[in-house]
Amino acid sequence: MINRARLGLGKQICFRNVLQQTKRRCSSVNTSTEVNTMIDTKEPSYIGIQTNFTDELKFINNENYDPLPIFRILNSSKSVQLPKLDEQILIRMYHKMLTLNIMDKILYESQRQGRISFYMTNTGEEAIQIGSAAAITLEDIIYAQYREAGVLLWRGYSIVEFMNQCYGNYKDNAKGRQMPVHYGSKKLNFVTISSPLTTQLPQAVGTAYALKRSKKKACVACYFGEGAASEGDAHAAFNFAATLECPVIFICRNNGYAISTPSLEQFKGDGIAVRGPAYGISTIRVDGNDILAMYYATKAAHEFCIKEGKPVLIEAMSYRIGHHSTSDDSTAYRSVNEIGRWNRYTPIIRFREYLESVGLWCNRQEQESKESIKRSILLAFADAEKRLKPCWKELFTDVYCKMPKHIRKQSCSMEKHVTEFREHYPLHLFKST
């Protein structure tokens, strides 16, 4: 850095300039941050570190401290005292979990039949999504990775909208430009998903900074997987969020795998959670298969973020029951037994047991709900499939706010070509204007 700065001063500098620079530098340092640099042999006075000297030669690692515990409510041996949740909300949470699960099954099958090009299920992670989404408000802005359809579902994204996006038909608000499951919704404050992993993290921090300056009582919730946490952008985001004091809730879905890579090959420390305190971020590890634990942890994080204007990290422990995507057969790298173990006691089953135990749910409701959800999804699915794709000229719009000349020229050139060779293009599938 010093070298860079020196070069910056350039060779033009003469004596006087150097003097001025030095003076300015000194005065600006004095006015900005007070740094105590007095050298004392007893108390360390290193900048940015507050600690003591020690005469013990000792390295520190995982074995020197206990791993972070997992906060849970359902199936906890002790009864947890928390503010009561409205019954209607509990039922709605369960209903959304079921809906997400059924939508996943239908869209997964439709990809297998070649009706949509790609799909990613949320199986096993419904509680993380619905539980956290229920704990925040529509004013809060969401940045997601791609396995968070439940968050959108909770916020009111309709089944029809999900289907339109997966089909890329003319009703898709992103105009069919992105692969399926890359949802987004301005009205629901859900920033459009993109494929590059972790890029959304530092962006979420920037948005949180903006929210804080605007004095809105809102924060940002940013989701990512434990694999994505290995990207440099995760480091950037944690550090920026902490140093610039941004109200963002980082929600890590630690589901054990990044495609085929088990988390054992992703990190050697105590998961993602342990990194939080290292950045100076308030952190909690939660049972991500326990919707109530997810709800209350996120609720508390939300309050903390807004009140303190600082970030929170939630590591939600879970298991990816489905394949990574429709382009993946996960039995190539993990055993059917392992999947089966997690599948016997899913977040949905756990929550249903709880609801039944408090008399809020029964078999009959289960059957009726499943039937009606399935019906509405199949209906939306059929409609979305029948709809035309957007006009092919939308390929050229929205690259910039206004179409520049060179792109207009390319659009005209393609139009001429398509007119001449129309029989070689699938024009009948696309709207004409």
């Binding site: 001063l9 350039g10 030095t22 900005s32 952008d233 950037a236």
Partner: protein, 374 residues
Amino acid sequence: MIFSKLCARLLNARASLGFNTVDRFVQRENVRCIHFTYYKDKNTNTSGETENMNMYQAINQGLRSALTNDPDAVIFGEDVAFGGVFRCTVDLQKEFGKDRVFNTPLCEQGIAGFGIGLATAGVTAIAEIQFADYIFPAFDQLVNEAAKVRYRSGGEFDCGKLTIRTPCGAVGHGGLYHSQSPEAYFAHTPGLKIVVPRGARQAKGLLLSCIEEPDPCIMFEPKILYRTAIDDVPTARYTIEIGKAEVVREGDAVTLVGWGTQVHVLLEVADLVQEKLGVSCEVIDLVSILPWDAELVCKSAKKTGRIVIAHEAPLTSGFGAEIASTIQEECFLHLEAPIQRVTGWDSPFPHVFEPFYLPDKWRCFAAVRDILNY
């Protein structure tokens, strides 16, 4: 005297920068002079008050005006709080507060991502990457994210309020990582806008355009001009249209196209050619790399029939290639000679060999002479 002590220490630390207590008035042979003569901007069509200032001062004034005009606008990057290593943000934190002008951790991908997030929320985000050489860690955020937000969301989201400023180009002694001109990497990215000012006046006008433009913009600022480029800069707010090139000097024998510092090299070449060969060159400052003004360049190419394109960046896949192929396509029947590209060589940017690396006025002059004799 404490100051003289300090100075002596600085001098010892960096004799190559040209301070030397013994022969401070002697021009030392191994210290390179700048490779161009600055041509003051002659544009006088703006009325109103002007002030004589260098490029960093003009940028500073532009930033000040942006922060004054838009109470939400923020400036951030490495070391911007104390004024920046090139002084472009000097005094701004004092005037506008720590929440609007602030240092970030040392992490370029973070700076770019953070800026995109601010802009997505509708905030004017003016980010600084300390040297263009260090923009590559942010390449993913800029190319995959900033450039594509509007397109991929069908226009629902955008980060048009993002502006990235970054010092670029040769500086005499910058070596591999304080000299690069990476505009061509970004010119291949639909969704971005890229500009390069050639002086103080352009820098302020282009900066304010970038900030106002509803698309993410990168302004590459030739760092050698920060102090050497001194113009009469309008004190009022003004903008310079992005996507428009400028004929800096009219001529009829050869068209010379460049941007940034290279425009001044080309102006000197035009003088040399006039003096030694007796013909006039038309000099075009491309100003805007993406989108670029093909119309104006082709119009000039049709008039002169001979084109020399010059840039500091390496030849292969440099932006000159894009210009040359477009001219060839649009002006084929008007060309009297093959289009010439005078550029940096296809090597990393070297330290002591800089005088042999740069497309200086003699290399450009030779190209013009050859193209006239073709």
